[in-house]
Symmetry: D3
Subunit: 274 residues, 6 copies
Amino acid sequence: MFYTDGKLQFPVRVEIPDPQFARALQQAIGGVEGEIRVAMQYFFQACGARGNPKFRDLLMNTAAEELGHIEMLATAVALNLEGAPVSVKDEVARDPVASAVLGGLNMKNLLSAGLSAMPVDSDGVPFDMSHIYASGNIAADMTANVAAESTGRVLATRLFNLTTDPGMKQMLSYLIARDTMHQNQWMAALEELGGASKVFPIPNSFSQEQEMQDFSYAYLGFQRDGSEPAPGRWSEGRSIDGKGSFKTIVPQPMGEKPVLAPAKPNSGAQAEQI
Amino acid sequence: MFYTDGKLQFPVRVEIPDPQFARALQQAIGGVEGEIRVAMQYFFQACGARGNPKFRDLLMNTAAEELGHIEMLATAVALNLEGAPVSVKDEVARDPVASAVLGGLNMKNLLSAGLSAMPVDSDGVPFDMSHIYASGNIAADMTANVAAESTGRVLATRLFNLTTDPGMKQMLSYLIARDTMHQNQWMAALEELGGASKVFPIPNSFSQEQEMQDFSYAYLGFQRDGSEPAPGRWSEGRSIDGKGSFKTIVPQPMGEKPVLAPAKPNSGAQAEQI
Amino acid sequence: MFYTDGKLQFPVRVEIPDPQFARALQQAIGGVEGEIRVAMQYFFQACGARGNPKFRDLLMNTAAEELGHIEMLATAVALNLEGAPVSVKDEVARDPVASAVLGGLNMKNLLSAGLSAMPVDSDGVPFDMSHIYASGNIAADMTANVAAESTGRVLATRLFNLTTDPGMKQMLSYLIARDTMHQNQWMAALEELGGASKVFPIPNSFSQEQEMQDFSYAYLGFQRDGSEPAPGRWSEGRSIDGKGSFKTIVPQPMGEKPVLAPAKPNSGAQAEQI
Amino acid sequence: MFYTDGKLQFPVRVEIPDPQFARALQQAIGGVEGEIRVAMQYFFQACGARGNPKFRDLLMNTAAEELGHIEMLATAVALNLEGAPVSVKDEVARDPVASAVLGGLNMKNLLSAGLSAMPVDSDGVPFDMSHIYASGNIAADMTANVAAESTGRVLATRLFNLTTDPGMKQMLSYLIARDTMHQNQWMAALEELGGASKVFPIPNSFSQEQEMQDFSYAYLGFQRDGSEPAPGRWSEGRSIDGKGSFKTIVPQPMGEKPVLAPAKPNSGAQAEQI
Amino acid sequence: MFYTDGKLQFPVRVEIPDPQFARALQQAIGGVEGEIRVAMQYFFQACGARGNPKFRDLLMNTAAEELGHIEMLATAVALNLEGAPVSVKDEVARDPVASAVLGGLNMKNLLSAGLSAMPVDSDGVPFDMSHIYASGNIAADMTANVAAESTGRVLATRLFNLTTDPGMKQMLSYLIARDTMHQNQWMAALEELGGASKVFPIPNSFSQEQEMQDFSYAYLGFQRDGSEPAPGRWSEGRSIDGKGSFKTIVPQPMGEKPVLAPAKPNSGAQAEQI
Amino acid sequence: MFYTDGKLQFPVRVEIPDPQFARALQQAIGGVEGEIRVAMQYFFQACGARGNPKFRDLLMNTAAEELGHIEMLATAVALNLEGAPVSVKDEVARDPVASAVLGGLNMKNLLSAGLSAMPVDSDGVPFDMSHIYASGNIAADMTANVAAESTGRVLATRLFNLTTDPGMKQMLSYLIARDTMHQNQWMAALEELGGASKVFPIPNSFSQEQEMQDFSYAYLGFQRDGSEPAPGRWSEGRSIDGKGSFKTIVPQPMGEKPVLAPAKPNSGAQAEQI
C-alpha cells in the first residue's frame, strides 16, 4: 500500500527554462535506463519475491523512492518546458531561435501534453514495460538492478554535463548520488546472497552436473581463420564463480546443415516445397 | 564481416515433435532474455567500443557465437512444430488433443511462419530492439551482459525442466553450459577493468565530488510510519565499491509541493487553468 | 514523495490456485484498461497539473491508491500461478490436464517471471506507456479518466464472472466498488469544473468564433446513397454543451481530388513520377 | 462496405510549405489522439455493436467521416513537406536554415516516405492499434469516444495556434468544428442511453449488490500523515450516478504483508528461495 | 472522402461458432499480412502518390475494398466468439472443454472486447502501423503490395484449411480470389510502369553510374572456407533488369578493423576508455 | 554457425563528422527498410526453408553479408557522431550551431549510447522484429525480399543525396550496388521457381478451384457514384499469372447489414444491449 505527501524528495529549481534540456530529461523518465523502469522493476520484483522477506522489503522500499524520482524529474521537465513557444503568431514567427527550439523539442511534450512531462524517452518513444525484469530468481534480479543503476548513472552524468542551470545541476548531483548508492545496494544484496562463488552460475539451484561441463568455462573462438581470439581474464585463470578454470577452444561445428522435412500439404507452402 | 558454413554449432535433434515446447523455445529466441538479444547486444556494443580494442574483439567474437545459437534454436522450433496440425479436416476435427495443441501454440508460428521459428517470444510478441543495451560505457555494458546471461540461464534451465525429449535436453545442457561461461566471461571482463573498487560507481570517469555525497552510501527508508527499513548488508559496513560506508537515513521531503505556472494562453488548457 | 508499509489495501486470498485465471488477471495489471494505466495516468496528470492545486492533490492521492491495486493484483496472480507445472517430468507428462493448463498460460509468467506477475496483459503483451493520457487540459484528462474507469469496471466484472474462488470474488467486489467510486469521482471533478455547459467543448479556452461554426453541431451523413443517416439525440435538440442545436447535413466534397506536385529530382522516386 | 470519390471533404490549401508544421500535423494523423485512432475506433466499435442497431449506424457513419479526415491531413502533410530539402548538394549545404529544417523534421517523412505523410506521430512513432478502445459495452465506448474527441480538439487548437498559413488555419477551423460536434455527439449518445443516472456505473448490467458497497462512494485518502485529503465535489453530496452519497475515509491496510510460498524446485529460482 | 452503406461485400455466415477459429481469423485482421495492413498501406500510398494520377485512383479504390474486408472479418470473429464462455459459473466449471476453449482464446477478445474483434493478431498483439509501406516511390510501393498480397493469400489458404464451417470456407474462398486478383493487379501496375527492365533497379531515377558497378550484379559468397556458394539463376546469365550479367565473387574484407577515437571526456564512458 | 574477422566489408571513412547525417544513417540500420531487417529476414527465412536446400544456402549466405553491412553502418554512425557536443559547458553554450546540432540529433545516440549507433531508426524508434517476414512459403518470401531491397535502395539513394562527404558517398555507392544485386537476386530466385506463370498466385499449392473464380481476375470498383474506376493494365488483357483475363466489375453488396446476437448476460455489456 502506498502513501504520498505530494512533496518533492529534493528541491527542483530551474533558473532559465530550457525546452531542449526538457527533452533530454525525458530520457531519465521514460528511457530504458530511466526512473519508470527502476520504480516498476523493483515493484514487480518485490511482488514476486519468494524466500527471505527482507528482499521484498528492500525492493518495495526502493520502489517507493524511485516513484519520488519520477515526480522530481516530471516537475523538472514541466519547468523547463515553460520556455517553449505555443503560438507561432506571438513567438515563433518573429524569432528564428524559437523556431529552432520548436524543432529540437519532443513535439508531443507540446502537442499531446501541453508543456508537461510524458512517460516517453528523449526521442518521444513511449516506455515499454517489457523492460521490467523480474525473473523470479532473486540473484538474477539483482544483476538486472546493478545494470539498470549503472546505465542510469551514466545517463545522469551525461545530463549533468549538458546543463549549466544550477538548480538542475544540484538536482542531478542528488540523483547521481542515489545511483551510486543503488549500484552498491544491489551488489550488497548479491554479497548477502553469498557473493560470486555462491551466487553464480545463476540459477544456483540447477545442478551443474546437468550442464555439458566441457563447455562451461571455455572461451570459444569464432575467428574466420581458425585462430585463437585475443586472450584476457576470460580465457585464463580460475573462473569468477570459482567452479572451474578458463580455457580457450576453437570450435568446429558439431552439427550438420539442418534439413527440415518437406512442407506439409495444406500448409501454405509453394508446391515445390512439398 | 561475417561468414557462415551453414552448419550447426551443436546437433539439434527432436525425437517426438512437441508444438507446445516449440512455443516455449520461442522465448529463448525472441524473449527479452533470449539469443537475439544477446547476439545483437554484443554486436552493437562491439561496434561502439572505444578504448582497448580487446573488448571489441571479445564482444564481436561472442556475438558470432550467439548468432549460431539462434540458428540452433530456430531449427529446434521448426522440428518441434512438425507435430502441429495444419488442416482441421484431416487432423483437428478427429482429435480433441490436436485441437488442444492448436490452442496451446503461438498461432503465428502456424499462420504466419508455416511451422517455422519467428523472432517472437513464447506468447508471440515480437522482439523489440530497445532491449539492446550498448551504453558507450564498457563497464555498464558488462553489467548488462551479466544480467542478460543470468536471466538467460534461468530461462534455459526452465526449458530443460519442461521437456523430456533427450535431444532437446542435450541441446539445452550445451546452451546452459555456454551461459555459465558467459556469466563468468563478463564478470571476468569487469575484473580486467579493475574489479568492483575500480569499476564502481559506473561511470568511474565522473568525479564523485560532483555528486551529493551525503546520500551516496545511505539506505533511505520510505516506510509510512517513519520506522527504519529492515537492515542488511546494504545498510552497514563498507560499501561494495570501497569508497564509503553504508548507513540508514529516514528522509523527510526536502522539497515542497511543486507549483507550476498557470497554463499559457493558447496552450490548449481549460480557461480555468490559465 | 511516496511511502509504503508493504501491506495490502485489501486481503488477497486464493483457495484453489488457477493458473488460467492468473492469465486473465494479468489484463487488470497490464491491459490498457488495467491498474498500471490508471496509476501512471493519474500520476502524470498530477505532475503536469496547472491551475487550482486541488486537482493535483486529487490525482496524486488516487495514483497512490492505484499503486496499491497493482500490488493486490500482482499478489493474486502469483498465488494463482502456484498451481502451474514447472517440470514436465513430474507433472505434465503424467497429466493431460497439466498440459492443457500449460497451453492456456501466458508462457512468460512461467518462463520469464518464475510464476510471478508481469506488467503484461492477458495475452502476454507488455503494457505500453503511450496509454498514459495527460493532456495538459484538466477537463480532457477527466474524460480520459472516466473512460479508463469505465472500461476498467467492465473488465473487473468480467473477471468476477470468470472465477468461483471466494477469495478472488471478494477481492474483485472490492475493486469493482472502487471503480464505481472513481467513475463518479472524475465526473464530480467535471462538475466542479462547471459541468457540461461550461466544460465543453474542450478546450473551453479556444474561442468558438475561430471554428467553422456551420459544422459545429451538424451530424454529417456519409451514406453511399446520399440518404440521411438514422436520427438520434445527436441529430436533434439542443447540443449537450448548450451552445448550439443539432441538425443533419448530407455533405458533398468541398475539396477536389488532391494533386501533389511531381516528385523532386533526387527524392528517390521513380523517373516516371518526376 | 466502403466507397470513395477520391475528393477531399474540405479543401486543403498550403500557401507556404512548412516542413516543421508537417511534423506537427503528423500528430493529428498518427498520434494517440489523432484521426487514425478515431476512424479505427469507431469502425471496430461498430463491428462489435450488439443491441440497438442505431449505434452501429452512428459509429460506422462517423468512421467514414474520419477516414476522410486522415485523407485531408495526409494531403496537408505532403503539401507542407514540399518545402523540405532532399539533396544536400543543392540546398542544405548552402543554407543553414535548410539544415535546421532538416533537423526539425521527422526524418522518416523524408527518408522512408519521400515527402509524404506516414501513420506516425509528431516524433515519428508509429501508431499502435492497442489504442482502439472497443469494449463490447456501448456506454464505455462512448466515454472513450468523448475522451478521444476531447484530446483531439485540444490537439487541433494547438496546431491552429502553431501556424499562420491561412489555408491551414481554415482546414483546422473546420476540423475543430467537427471535434466540437463529435464531443457533443457521443455525449448525446450517452443521453440517449439514459443519461448519467441510468448509464453509470458502467457496466450497468452488473448488480451493485455484488460490489462491496461500503467503498462504492468513498473518497479514500492516502496521505502519509493520515490526514484527510483536500475535499471537493467528489467527497460530498449525492454521487453523480445518483445511487449513493460521497464521503471521505482514511483507510488502513486491511491485508497483511503478502507471503508467497517458497519457490518450487525446478522453477529456476536461487537455492535460497526454495 | 469515404462513404458506407453498412452492408457486407460478401455474406458472412457461421454455422457453428468456433472461438478458436475466431482467434485464427484475428491474424487476417490485425496480423502483419492482414487486412488493416493492406487497407492502410494502399490508403497512405494513394495520399502520397506523385505522378500519373491513375495510380492514386487505383490505390484509393482498392483501399476502399480492403476496408470492407476488415468489416467482413470482424463480423466473422464476433460470430465465432458467440460460442465462448463468459461466466465460469454457468459454463466453464461444468465443462472441461469450455475450459480448454478459454485457454485457446485470445483472452483480450473476451476481456477487453466483450466477444468482438480487435485490431490484433492471432496471438493478441496489436497491429503496429510501422508496417504501412508507402515509400514515395510508386514502383517500390508496388513490390511491397505484391509481397503483402502474397503473404496475405498464404494466410487465407491456411485459414481455409483450418475450418470445416461451410460459411467460413465460402467467405475465405472469396477473399482468396480477391488476393489472387490483387497479386496480379500490382504486378500489372509494375508492367504498366514498364516491366522489369524499365522499373528495376528501383529507384530507376538514380543514375547507375553513381553506384559501384563492379558489385551491381555479383553474387558474393560468405562461406567460411572461401568456397563459392551454391550457384543458381542469381549467379549466371543476364540480370533480371537486363542491365548486367550475374557473376560470383568470393570477397575479401576491403576495410580494416574499425578503430573509433577514444571516448570524449564528459561523455559518460569509463575512465579507461578516454 | 557464424564466424567473423572483425574487418569491414568495405572501408568506412568520414572526413567531416556530421551528427545530423548520423541520425539519417540510423534509418539504414534500424529502419523498417534497413539492414537489421534484411539480415534477420534472410536468416529466419533460411532457418525455416523447406524444400530444395539451395534456397537455404542462398538466404543464409546473404544474411552473412547483411550482418557486415550493419557493421559498416554502425561504424559510420559512430564516426559521424564524433562531431556531437557532450558537454554544454564547453561547447553548446558558446555556440548556437552546436545547440542546433543537439536539437537535430537522435538524443538517444548521445544519452543512451554515448555517441554510438543503436538499433533504432532515424527518429529514434527501436526496430521491431515483427518486420521479419518469413512465411514458410519460399515464393512469398522472395516477394518480401524484393520489396525490402527496393525500399532499401530508395533509402540508400536518399542518403547518398543528403551527404557531400566523399567517404560516405563512396560507402553508399557500394551499398547501393549491393541493393541492385539483391533486387535482381531475389527476382532471379522467383525465375528459378518457375517465373510468374508458375509461381503465382502464391501459394501455388492451393488449388484455384477452391477459390471463387468469378472474382479472381476482376478489378472491382468502389466509386461512390457507381462509375467504373480508371482502367489500366490491371483491368484488361491476360492476367500476369497467365491464368485468367482481367475485367472490371462494379460490385453491389452481396451481404446484408450484419446483425450480431444480443450481448450475453454476464458479458460486461450495458443492460440495454442484452
